[in-house]
Symmetry: C2
Subunit: 351 residues, 2 copies
């Protein structure tokens, strides 16, 4: 049974949506146990508020042992400085949940709290995988090819990066793509402003030759923003500033397009009729683009499965983030990264 | 009459699409004269190949004097190093067209050629507006609000930027937004990874207080990728690496969404019927998102109206780029930028 330490207090809609998502995961996923970590009183209040069917499901899960509440007296607020909150409040839900992983009492950590707070807690409590310079947040995004999503990293953990860090991001992304996304030979691209080898800023220009030397990677060279969603790249490497901007831009443009499409579809009765006929198609598209489904972003480079969900996570996003936690834990992503980075260190030594 | 020096040889589909776009602009826009600059023989060959109606229109335009061919013996290839090509080939179409602007024989320059080549030629031939550190490429993008597009700059002219350059980008974007997009008080945002003042990378963190001090700007603070297309920001400032990645990502995600929507709409006969009913809505959406319409990106900071069209410009994109050239010239964008930057220098002196 895979045990997930889920931060009940993190996220814009916590604890409500987290509690619902927890119950759904504890009852809907097989061989999974959810450890709901947070202040007992608000969690209990949310459980009491649940509609009858869900309340029964929650009780059943607790009796069966697929859901358990772990008390954490403190909460790290979204508005506090993440580093300060984590350091000051030793027993906030994020720290308590992270310690469950450290102590081997949970196999993965999931939170929709502040990503800086989660990263800080992960590094403080779990440390880093030997040889890893900087852990990175990896995000899975849908592409034109439904069967081939893309992993973009770093998506926001490190702002000003050194070329060596980006090389490690590539290796960590490669490991995740192989282990979780089941991509046999991930095509790894360096996000830049042109596909020519010489294009880019100072950092990417220095990173390019380092990646080219990595014989264990299928490095396909520089890629552009327009290559991200074509479905021919599996891992896109960039610094956390660029990755975060790209990620949020992607969400934004998708929403803007859907917004405009809606506007056009209600412009006259005939169109409303056409839109009704196409309801299934629109629903399917929405589902494919649903950020909730892609919402769980693994923090790679720490010795443990740590998943950061979107701050505005709904219960569905929480459910999928728990699923991502299960996938990261059962496929031993950390172990694969540790191996890849250790081999690298070995190679360096021999040279 | 506004005279546009149009590079006939620049772009993936030049000279064919440029020649068609030139004829359409010369006949479709009022009070505009197109100076088609390039090698006579291939331009003439394209004109000969035109369908009858367009050929007649071209002849009429040349008789009326709204189109003229200006011979340029050389061509700067898309694959050459842009700086080298411009420096070596004094009489390539880009240089010849740029000199028409310099010599006052044209009011604006338009090219779908290599943006680096155009920027180099502009700086070599026209110089920079007094006080401008670095010219920047500005791109107009559609948002959720059809009446409020957003200007993003720098979109690719400068990779590694200093904070002072970004402040000037903000001022230049502000001037363009006011002059051409007719925005009375543009909301200027600094593209970052969070809206809090302290969020960002080293460069944006240094830029933030400088922008905050600019009393002539309506600086609204840090914005995120997700704010770009909401329709509440008029000018987004970033370095050319980030801007270029955002721009190309935007194009890419829009295409991926349309691709998936199409897939869904042909999945069964009922959906095909629904899609036929909604044909008008889809067409309207496509038109709104059409990158061709937004394709002409002004190079701001040089003393003259210089428009860079997308490398893969169709004749329609060329038409709209010519239109952007007319707008930049008739609204004296360069003059407004010169004034804004000069005032700034004056302020600095008085301090």
């Amino acid at each position: 049974m895979t045990r997930i330490a889920l931060d009940a207090m993190g996220g814009d809609f916590a604890p409500e949506q987290v509690v619902i998502g927890a119950v759904e995961a504890a009852t809907g996923l097989s061989d999974v146990k959810v450890l709901l970590v947070g202040q007992l009183a608000p969690i209990q209040a949310e459980l009491d508020k649940l509609p009858k069917a869900l309340k029964n499901a929650a009780q059943e899960a607790m009796v069966k042992g697929t859901m358990e509440i772990v008390h954490a007296p403190d909460v790290a607020g979204m508005d506090e400085s993440p580093v300060d909150a984590i350091k000051k409040k030793k027993d906030c839900s994020i720290n308590v949940a992270m310690r469950l992983v450290k102590e081997g009492r949970a196999d993965a950590f999931v939170s929709a709290g502040n990503s800086g707070a989660v990263a800080t807690s992960a590094i403080l409590n779990l440390g880093r995988i030997a040889g890893v310079k900087r852990p990175a947040i990896a995000t899975v995004l849908p592409t034109s090819d439904q069967s081939r999503p893309i992993l973009v990293l770093d998506a926001g953990a490190n702002m000003d990066c050194h070329p060596e860090w980006l090389v490690q991001f590539a290796k960590m992304g490669d490991a995740y793509s192989k282990a979780v996304l089941k991509c046999a030979t991930p095509a790894v691209g360096l996000l830049s402003i042109g596909t020519e080898d010489c294009k880019g800023n100072e950092m990417t220009k220095e990173t390019f030759p380092l990646l080219k030397k990595c014989q264990d990677l299928n490095f396909v060279g520089n890629i552009e923003g327009k290559d991200l969603f074509k479905g021919h790249i599996d891992v896109a490497v960039c610094d956390g500033f660029v990755g975060n901007v790209v990620l949020k831009t992607t969400e934004s443009i998708a929403k803007a397009i859907v917004h405009r499409l809606k506007d056009e579809c209600v412009r006259n009765p005939l169109r409303i009729f056409g839109a009704l006929v196409l309801k299934g198609a629109f629903k399917a598209l929405k589902k494919q683009l649903d950020p909730d489904v892609y919402g769980g972003a693994p923090l790679l480079g720490v010795p443990g499965a740590v998943i950061i969900a979107h701050g505005s996570s709904s219960h569905k996003a929480i459910f999928y983030a728990v699923k991502a936690g299960v996938a990261a834990a059962t496929n031993d992503v950390s172990g694969m990264i540790a191996k890849s980075i250790a081999e690298d260190a070995e190679d360096q030594k021999q040279k």
